[in-house]
């Protein structure tokens, strides 16, 4: 703990905390996206998968909360480091170049890092309210009879709305950009930039965003256009609210 606090004092230490928390979230996002692809296996399979997570992987219900608290701590640390560091970075050049400054090496993903981060925070809050808590009890934004027992219907109806679906698409494009520069930066920040680590870094930098954004877009667009995600067993207990 002493080491953690001494590290947290320096800019590099804050970045290491950002990198570590980021990589934990990357690992989780990859698993989450892989799970989401089960939507194409049909309602029963997807709901069985959702129930497995709800039950704490059929091992211990508290595991679900352990996972949630870990992820929430990562989100908190990630944002805490980002706010501190980006404030410092802006303060480091109080007078801008009057004639402009040219870029030669950076990428759009790197320049959009903070903007994408803000989009992702808004998306995260909406996504949790939308499909985990289920607070929008109408048939426009969310399936009116939101039920933890029917995650499949919640997803297909909820993301099927064109406006909601478009937000999911945009947010996941931002996620792809954020992960592209984030993974590369995490390796660099943790000091893993040499011939031994670079093949892994390059592969993850390229393929993780392709997989996560690709999978998310596939699911979102399928829900929006009703392709491959038919509700096989209509839930007869569902009654329209209006």
């Amino acid at each position: 703990m002493t080491a953690f606090f001494s590290l947290a004092k320096s800019t590099i230490g804050k970045k290491a905390i950002m990198a570590g928390s980021g990589l934990i979230m990357v690992g989780w996002i990859v698993l989450h996206m892989a799970g989401n692809l089960l939507v194409f296996a049909g309602q029963d399979h997807f709901n069985a998968y959702a129930e497995m997570i709800q039950s704490g992987f059929h091992i211990e219900p508290a595991l679900l909360w352990a996972m949630r608290i870990t992820l929430l701590a990562c989100v908190g640390l990630h944002i805490w480091a980002a706010v501190g560091l980006s404030g410092r970075n802006r303060a480091a050049r109080p007078v801008a170049y009057a004639g402009g400054r040219k870029n030669h090496a950076t990428s759009y993903a790197a320049e959009f890092m903070l903007g994408a981060g803000v989009v992702l925070l808004l998306y995260l809050v909406f996504h949790l309210l939308h499909l985990t808590v289920g607070v929008f009890s109408d048939d426009v934004v969310q399936h009116a009879a939101f039920s933890k027992k029917d995650a499949y219907r919640n997803l297909v109806v909820g993301v099927g709305n064109p406006v909601v679906g478009a937000f999911y698409v945009l947010a996941n494009l931002a996620l792809g950009m954020h992960l592209h520069h984030g993974i590369k930066s995490a390796f660099q920040t943790l000091g893993l930039n040499d011939d031994r680590w670079n093949p892994l870094k390059d592969a993850l930098t390229r393929w993780v965003p392709v997989f996560t954004t690709g999978a998310a877009l596939l699911v979102a667009l399928s829900c929006m256009f009703g392709v491959g995600v038919l509700i096989e067993a209509p839930d007869l207990s569902w009654t329209p609210s209006h």
């Binding site: 970045k15 970075n89 170049y97 040219k102 950076t106």
Partner: protein, 250 residues
């Protein structure tokens, strides 16, 4: 050939500056950029006006004294260059050339194009040295060092401390400079006894000077006249993390 110059003029650290236009300055392609500024100053002095202040010393690209942002690029267009080694042949007849100083909180403008880079000196003073018995120089190769490691240490040691990395960085970060100065000692046996103390002290000083942090844009590497790579930043990061988590500081 004629060029139009827009040169940043600022009386002192606290005063507001602005561009001064010098239209149709007569130059020849063989002239170095600093020779052109010398000519501008000669003309200004002939008219009894204040000359443009800028830093320069060796004019051979090895001392790190000169530097200004030319058309948005530290040390001007082209790779691996210093301002003194930039020539007017890099420009076209009729070009407008905008010249302004390094912009960073840690590099306050002294006057015109000259900035105060003593923040770099204080980072070196914080730990960029080795403490060893001095005396006569040891025999060459009395401490065997592998060729690859020697080359890497030498690559870091080519840093001339010009400040282009800070000027090019979107965050005005001094990570490339600090990483080069940490690495050219940390890669060699002579630098090992103080290695983890050194990295902590130099990073603390770098932070205290008000430089920004690294967000991995690699603009520093593209601007560095000695083409020092961001791999040294990764090395600096690794050493700082090891120093803290391994409790390796003395």
């Amino acid at each position: 050939m004629k060029v139009n110059l827009r040169i940043w003029r600022q009386k002192g650290p606290e005063s507001a500056g602005s561009f001064q236009d010098f239209p149709n300055v007569e130059v020849v392609p063989e002239m170095s950029f600093l020779e052109m500024l010398d000519e501008v100053n000669r003309a200004l002095e002939a008219k009894g006006q204040e000359a443009v202040t800028f830093d320069s010393d060796c004019r051979e690209g090895i001392c790190g004294s000169c530097g200004a942002v030319v058309n948005g690029d530290p040390h001007g267009p082209g790779k691996a260059n210093t301002l003194c080694q930039l020539h007017l042949r890099s420009f076209q007849d009729g070009d407008t050339i905008t010249i302004e100083p390094w912009r960073a909180k840690a590099f306050p403008v002294v006057r015109d194009l000259m900035v105060d880079r003593s923040a770099f000196d204080r980072i070196i003073q914080a730990g960029g040295y080795i403490t060893a018995r001095t005396g006569s120089a040891p025999d060459a190769n009395s401490v065997p060092i592998g060729k690859e490691r020697a080359d890497e240490a030498m690559e870091a040691a080519t840093c001339i401390g010009c400040g282009a990395c800070v000027a090019a960085c979107p965050n005005a970060s001094a990570m490339l400079f600090t990483s080069a100065k940490v690495s050219h000692l940390g890669l060699l046996p002579q630098g090992q006894p103080q290695r983890f103390d050194r990295v902590q002290k130099m990073v603390d000083q770098m932070d205290a000077e008000g430089f920004g942090g690294c967000t991995n844009h690699s603009e520093c590497e593209a601007a560095c006249p000695k083409e020092i790579g961001v791999k040294f930043i990764a090395r600096l990061n690794a050493d700082l993390i090891k120093a803290n988590l391994g409790n390796l500081r003395k």
